[in-house]
């Protein structure tokens, strides 16, 4: 079954950009150009996710979010906003959104976050997992033991957390900012390529010379852990 995404965005260029990208990624897209119409659709509840602009004619984005949540609809919501300060982000998350993306954004970032949200929703529905596996790589979440093809790999706590996030999202792109938020719980820009250096260290530990690489760099987007095919 194809998944339906609701895009509530008044700026036609941005809406086209997002809708086109989503359709190419295999989603069905409904669009609403103003707040009231958007709220009307969103209350339907039949969407896999809602992408919501913060500043809309007719109704403020946060007000729509409030109304959706008040109506008991728990469809995942990603807010798009030109208001990029950390305070605004916190306000958006507190209002009940599942993620907050600052304009201008790369579509790959939006897609990665959208997919991560849906996996998170699916994972919550399942029972707690005790281990994560990707090809030869396995991670025991209880004993904190990581092995590749039977060989134990020693990881620092932060490296362990980094690998865990990648494993949970395996097969999908995880962006640098997503890693910064998930692994370090920071929402600011640390400037230099801090994340890249951590990834390259992790890569050295899990992808030994001679082994097929599991950790891939996705150009212009982020990183992805996947089985060699």
């Amino acid at each position: 079954m194809t998944k339906k995404i609701l895009v509530i965005e008044d700026d036609a260029t941005t809406a086209d950009y997002v809708a086109k990208g989503l359709v190419e990624s295999g989603y069905v897209v409904d669009r609403a150009a103003d707040g009231r119409e958007g709220l009307f659709h969103a209350l339907d509840g039949a969407y896999a996710a809602v992408i919501l602009d913060r500043m809309l004619p007719g109704m403020d984005g946060l007000a729509i979010l409030g109304a959706i949540r008040a109506a008991g609809v728990d469809t995942p919501v990603i807010i798009l906003s030109a208001l990029g300060s950390t305070d605004e982000r916190v306000k958006g998350l507190k209002a009940g959104s599942d993620d907050y993306l600052v304009k201008p954004f790369a579509f790959s970032e939006l897609l990665a976050r959208l997919e991560a949200l849906q996996r998170r929703g699916a994972a919550n529905a399942q029972a707690v997992v005790a281990s994560l596996v990707c090809g030869e790589l396995s991670m025991d979440l209880l004993s904190h033991r990581v092995e590749r093809a039977g060989t134990r790999i020693d990881l620092q706590p932060r490296e362990f957390r980094l690998l865990e996030v990648l494993l949970r999202n395996q097969g999908h792109v995880v962006t640098r900012t997503m890693l910064l938020e998930e692994v370090w719980d920071y929402h600011f820009d640390p400037g230099t390529n801090v994340i890249d250096v951590h990834i390259s260290r992790l890569r050295k530990k899990i992808d030994d010379a001679g082994q097929a690489p599991l950790l891939h760099t996705v150009r212009g987007a982020g990183y992805m852990l996947s089985e060699p095919n």
């Binding site: 950390t86 801090v194 150009r219």
Partner: protein
């Protein structure tokens, strides 16, 4: 005057003030007049009392020496001599018949008593009743004597006093009105001059100031605070102008580079080189977005926004966390980075902004101080402050350039070669100020020691044994 304008007038401060002043002046006049009236009335009453008791004493003395006939004779003499023009006199025998006097009959309600009573009586030859102050004497023989004095004078005086009172009240209204108008005008002039300055400011002349006279009265203090506010506004506007200029300048160069690289990309022969050129363009755009985000974050911090997200967090843990985050990067540049004497330190503030500031300082140390090979980070607590510092062993910043280094878009000569927005230290300083602290750049001889100093919260120190 129609109703609407009266309603508006009623709410005008000037009208309210005038009315209040008027009410106060009337309220002040009334008690004075009241006291005057009572005092004057009492004086005239005392005068009548003295007259009556005097006459009574004389007649009683006459009675003691000559009995009733002497009293009767005395009365007759007084009436005949004209001494009784303002007097009522009557002597009756036990059966009520008149023996002597200038009245026909004894008033039915008059009894012997101490002091005197007021009563309206007809005297012989008078058509109108007159008001008398009366005193009666009952002799043992059954004869009775009435002595009275006309008190029309007192009544007239009362009336005159009342007229004076009303007159004074009527005068108090215009005088009060005039006085209050003068006062209000004086006040309006002072406030008006402040308003004029405000209007000039609103019209764009930010250099205008309110006149102050140094007396430190409320008007003067108002003027002083307004002037202080205006100075601050002028400084902010100037700052804004500088930032706008600098931002325009700073955005123009990356935009020029972006434009050039887009043109270059369109001319690339192969797909691979085209992709590389587009990637380069994306990086330029990202850099520009970072500059804008940084500028906005600084402006917000400088405007005092972000305090609503203040909460307690462990500054020590944040420092260790960020140090660990930069560890791999430092190792790649051959620098050792470590937290000196790690400890817990509860700090009340905006965790994200402090984190950003700390990471900017570490980033700076890595960029400009890595040739020293050693970066130390520390958190300390003194009696009065909480200190966070990052120290490197690199080239440092000369004393006379330290202030410049903290300004927006100012990049010292050596730094222009590396990429960066020139906002790092400016943001650190803005965040420090948002938390009531400051950024101090010190000599680490050699190298730079950047210190964030925050005042310690004023809670009582925990008891130590």
């Amino acid at each position: 005057m129609n109703r609407l304008s009266w309603t508006r007038l009623k709410h005008s401060t000037t009208v309210r003030f005038v009315l209040l002043y008027l009410a106060l002046s009337v309220a002040g006049a009334v008690p004075v007049l009241f006291v005057t009236y009572h005092q004057a009335d009492r004086m005239s009453r005392d005068h009548f009392e003295a007259q009556i008791s005097n006459r009574k004493a004389n007649l009683l003395l006459t009675h003691r020496t000559g009995g009733i006939p002497a009293v009767a004779q005395g009365i007759r003499d007084r009436i005949a001599g004209g001494a009784a023009a303002q007097t009522a006199l009557l002597l009756i025998d036990p059966s009520g018949r008149r023996i002597a006097g200038n009245m026909k009959t004894w008033p039915a309600t008059l009894r012997e008593q101490a002091g005197w009573t007021e009563m309206r009586l007809y005297r012989d030859g008078h058509v109108q009743p007159e008001l008398f102050a009366l005193s009666a004497v009952h002799f043992r023989s059954g004869h009775r004597l009435l002595i009275g004095t006309v008190i029309d004078d007192r009544t007239r005086m009362r009336e005159a006093l009342l007229i004076a009172l009303v007159g004074a009240l009527i005068l108090a209204v215009p005088i009060g009105l005039a006085g209050s108008l003068v006062l209000v005008r004086f006040m309006n002039n002072r406030i008006g001059s402040i308003g004029d300055v405000a209007a000039r400011i609103a019209a764009g002349d930010l250099s205008r100031r309110v006149d102050t006279d140094g007396t430190n009265d409320p008007f003067d203090r108002l003027g002083d605070s307004l002037n202080a506010m205006l100075a601050r506004i002028e400084a902010l506007v100037e700052e804004l102008r500088l930032v706008t200029d600098a931002l325009a300048h700073d955005l123009r160069s990356p935009l020029t580079r972006i434009r050039a690289s887009v043109e270059k990309a369109t001319m690339q022969p192969t797909e691979e080189t085209q992709r590389q050129a587009i990637d380069a363009t994306s990086q330029e755009i990202d850099g520009m977005l970072r500059t804008i985000a940084g500028t906005l974050e600084i402006s917000r911090a400088e405007a005092g926004m972000g305090r609503e997200n203040f909460a307690a967090f462990d500054l020590g843990a944040l420092t260790r966390d960020l140090c660990e985050m930069y560890q791999p990067l430092a190792e790649e540049s051959g620098v050792s980075i470590a937290v000196e004497k790690p400890r817990e330190m509860t700090f009340f503030g905006n965790r994200e902004l402090i984190g950003q500031a700390v990471s900017n300082l570490i980033d700076n140390a890595l960029k400009y101080g890595s040739d020293g090979g050693n970066i130390r980070i520390g958190v300390e607590e003194t009696e009065t402050s909480i200190l966070f510092w990052v120290a490197d062993r690199g080239g440092g910043i000369p004393v006379d350039r330290r202030e410049e280094a903290q300004r927006k878009y100012r990049r010292l000569d050596g730094a222009r070669a590396t990429d960066g927005s020139g906002l790092g230290l400016a943001l650190v300083r803005a965040v420090a100020r948002l938390h009531g602290g400051e950024l101090i750049l010190e000599d680490n001889s050699p190298g730079l020691r950047a210190v964030l100093r925050f005042p310690r919260p004023a809670d009582p120190p925990e008891a130590t044994l």
